[in-house]
Symmetry: D2
Subunit: 346 residues, 4 copies
Amino acid sequence: MVIVMAPGASDTDVDGVVTHIQAHGGQAFVSRGVMRTIVGVVGTEDVLETLDAAGLPGVVETMRITAPYKLVSAQNAGGAATRTTIRVGGVPIGPDTFTLIAGPCAVETPEQTLGAALMARRAGATLLRGGAYKPRTSPYAFQGLGEAGLRILAEIRDEVQLPIVTEVVDAADVDVVAEYADMLQIGTRNMQNFGLLQAVGRSGKPVMLKRGLTATYEEWLMAAEYIAQRGNLDIVLCERGVRSFEPAIRNMLDVSAVPMVQRLSHLPVIVDPSHAAGRRDLVVPLARAGIAAGADGVMVDVHPNPETALCDGAQALVGDVLDELAEAVATLPPLLGRTSAAHLAG
Amino acid sequence: MVIVMAPGASDTDVDGVVTHIQAHGGQAFVSRGVMRTIVGVVGTEDVLETLDAAGLPGVVETMRITAPYKLVSAQNAGGAATRTTIRVGGVPIGPDTFTLIAGPCAVETPEQTLGAALMARRAGATLLRGGAYKPRTSPYAFQGLGEAGLRILAEIRDEVQLPIVTEVVDAADVDVVAEYADMLQIGTRNMQNFGLLQAVGRSGKPVMLKRGLTATYEEWLMAAEYIAQRGNLDIVLCERGVRSFEPAIRNMLDVSAVPMVQRLSHLPVIVDPSHAAGRRDLVVPLARAGIAAGADGVMVDVHPNPETALCDGAQALVGDVLDELAEAVATLPPLLGRTSAAHLAG
Amino acid sequence: MVIVMAPGASDTDVDGVVTHIQAHGGQAFVSRGVMRTIVGVVGTEDVLETLDAAGLPGVVETMRITAPYKLVSAQNAGGAATRTTIRVGGVPIGPDTFTLIAGPCAVETPEQTLGAALMARRAGATLLRGGAYKPRTSPYAFQGLGEAGLRILAEIRDEVQLPIVTEVVDAADVDVVAEYADMLQIGTRNMQNFGLLQAVGRSGKPVMLKRGLTATYEEWLMAAEYIAQRGNLDIVLCERGVRSFEPAIRNMLDVSAVPMVQRLSHLPVIVDPSHAAGRRDLVVPLARAGIAAGADGVMVDVHPNPETALCDGAQALVGDVLDELAEAVATLPPLLGRTSAAHLAG
Amino acid sequence: MVIVMAPGASDTDVDGVVTHIQAHGGQAFVSRGVMRTIVGVVGTEDVLETLDAAGLPGVVETMRITAPYKLVSAQNAGGAATRTTIRVGGVPIGPDTFTLIAGPCAVETPEQTLGAALMARRAGATLLRGGAYKPRTSPYAFQGLGEAGLRILAEIRDEVQLPIVTEVVDAADVDVVAEYADMLQIGTRNMQNFGLLQAVGRSGKPVMLKRGLTATYEEWLMAAEYIAQRGNLDIVLCERGVRSFEPAIRNMLDVSAVPMVQRLSHLPVIVDPSHAAGRRDLVVPLARAGIAAGADGVMVDVHPNPETALCDGAQALVGDVLDELAEAVATLPPLLGRTSAAHLAG
């Protein structure tokens, strides 16, 4: 069961609901987002039937959710019509806008990061991505600059005025990453690292949750539920390609995930064509496909000198290809009734 | 090796090339399309090295092809820049246009087929699809009307003035289907039915070749090569979703296939979002994604009364959803530099 | 619904049942195997409810089958306890025995075929496999010797006294292949070539049906149902590996298929480790795994000179590796309560 | 590059090698196992060429490893012939023995754990498995007893005299779990949780590393390399089924993984048929298949009262089915030249 609080409900109202649930023998999970506060209730059939919370102060609605994920389910949002908009440092990601997120795969130097950030801004990006902690398949590959990378990102943010999205790979690092970042990213390999999900759920920062390599939609939403259950409803889902049998591509971008997950959940969904494709010449066609399928945003790698990149240079956009992406981002979303997030930041 | 003939090369020129190849100990495969005639050469390294066919009458160019598929390879077309345009009853499918193909999954009655054809035409379709021979997983399911269905299709073609695309499932039926149809379709389950591929290769009709359920790009192009090797280069490839681990969707539309196969081959590529999705509410987002990824056309199911359809009614477009598709087909392709095939037929 | 006839039921009895079904408005499909004759009934709920066939002469039992496949369902066999034994030229394949089938992937010459057949017999094989019609991904690869290959197989059969299993790839070839072969094989790529399935269903010969590359158990059994529906219940299912994401192996042998399909159907199930592995050093471990999982037989490629084989030489067993296989076939099945088919032929 | 130390090499010898490597500009990773100590070297081509470490005290051999995983590669073990044996509380897992690991999926109560442990021992198990920290797809599912569960496991170990294997899901928990456990298990969802891999690498305890849901063999071995790189070479790999398209089974046990990974790495490989199957009636056939494919051990779930289990009761063995497993474990490994680990513990 989920109890939806009114937009103006006070902390006292929320506490009252929690106390009421506990007095009836249930467990309460408060999840706060920019747009709504929701209280999830877990308990036996008896508890749920006798709860009768509809009349409590600040409560808008109570509803039984049949999906195994409760707090992130579209059922508690009145369906797709009221999907959620998340704000990251003032920049919206949601159903009415289109948000471009761009930046280097890995932060290497201040110069490279600034170069990439300027490229991102020129292409219409309103959020800057960049990795300081890099999960790599090989222990001998470049693992990122760690906190030094976070400091570079923060300096560039001040210079280019773009809020930053960066990955956190270990629960022990959540506090330090949250100090610098505007949005925390959970990578594909960590989608079911439940300790990490709970830690970012407690962090108070918006979270971007990438889909696991062969995660089903339900498993992906259950991972989001772990974050929401610890109090954080500001979650953006990111489709980045799934593992397939096809040897010619790195991953297979599952564009069906965009409309499907938007029907199942009220959370925004973006696509990452760079990591799906793994090669520059596929990024723009896949970005266009993601936008056309209804994605709320796109995240791409850019790099001023892809040939010397320490990580995934083959997929980083540069030059003409980046111009093509900028054009797609400018022209396609309006056809689908969206405003560019570029004009809405602040 | 592939020998490309000049647009105006005569049959005598082509015969001369074939004789020359055979005299040198090689095998020759002549493949004719609307836009070009190509002669494939198979032989030992010795044969290929001593062939020296560049100076023969009517020969434009000779080239070694490293891909295992020769006649359909992009290498013999000077790359993506000179991709092929196929014509079906005068309607183009190729890089400069965008072609909508629509119609009922299965032909049931003249009234239902006419109703669907009129819906198709109103939505902007320039080709009519419809199945008279249906390959079904169950031997107890409706297997199509057979030749009676072909006759209905032919009558409706005369009435609505749309050339027809219809599936052939058995080599023994190719002649009768080719009598009625403007384009022969090879279904997913038959992508490696090599006898059938060779039979449609000899038929002289344009062929639409659907991708197998987990066929790699290379296997798909090798299947096209079987058709081309029997003399027919008028082939359109159709991506229709691949089998995946995700239980919430019937098949996973692989939009990467569109730009990838357009790089590997000179043949047109379209997408079929209806059979990928298996449900009406996903068809338009997937159609948009396919168009945006660069497809040369889209094929969809329509039905005047989906709830009584004998085959795949759940995915047939109708009413508002069909209007949405029509709008996507009208607005997206021009953004990508394409003209609607509707204005070019004839 | 399925009507099971008594072992001694006469043709008149069967005709009586068919007439009775048709008189009640149903369709009847008679399917004959070595062990039983079954009549499938397709019709509306009304037809099935009023049929009342239990008392007709020769009828043992009538039962409603909930699986979409009727004639091949385990439900009509009283469960796994009464699984079917098929006989191929006198050699049994079924629950009480273990059958080794071996031979060359492709018939090349009489000498090579005889060499392979002698190797097969020494290793304990009681059936000889060999391909005269080869479905190949490339139109330029060796396509088999055709009827000349069948003649070689027939000669070698006389010489080594092993019944032969050989593939048929086109419905038009079924009659000629059935003239020579003791068992017809349907390959992976043709599992849903429904015209071919129906043709072998009418042939009166036992059929080996390989699983499609990503066919579900249900689709595989529906393909078997197509054969059974045309009158032929002597079908052996062959698991030969499925397509996967793992680049280090050609296909992934799905050993779960063996016990699962044995629960769903009364038909025998064997495994083909050679085509799954694609490399010699994996064949014996996979053969052992298949035997241990409960397979009713194993089919492997052998070749006297693998390095010169025209087809799949890399997976053909020879020398020590074949000896290892022979030992596995001799020692493992008795542990699982099976008798070697070698001692039961005739 | 990998430098193999002599069995009797002293710490001073190892330190000397490390100093030598660093003096030449390389990085050194010391990895210690029961059977060998290996020093991995990472550096530029120049460093590797000029290193010349073969003559240093205690060095047996230096070799260049072409695989991306170095310390766990079969290349540094002289091939499959010298595969490693790991010891867990005295119990061997390796090429000469066969080890059964059994116990409850989750520790629930002392009584349930004791019951399961006694069942395990009667079936021939020499190691006891049991989960105190359970990674669950749903945040609302039973998450394990935590340290209280570890204490139960430790008590039961004393009572039944079986060393214990238990999962650790968070790097922060490694110390406490290592205090109680004889072997640490890394679960499927955490195969690429690199912080956790490094933490167990530093723990000094043997590690069981389950394969990720669609991890390639190379990714799996790279995950093992993360553990080895932090100093720990006592690693056992566990195949537990991969995600597939087949809806009738939970996961598809990839038996090819056993011989393939044994060729690629010197580490032992076991299979977990319980989690692959997800249903009791498949566990024994799959266990037999794993043994026959050459696995060094099998791990299964048992439970005294499966119908009340808090986790995965449907797959827990009990009664006759457990007896069947015990028989398979007793009879199959000797056929393959293995001794039961039951007789070798101590």
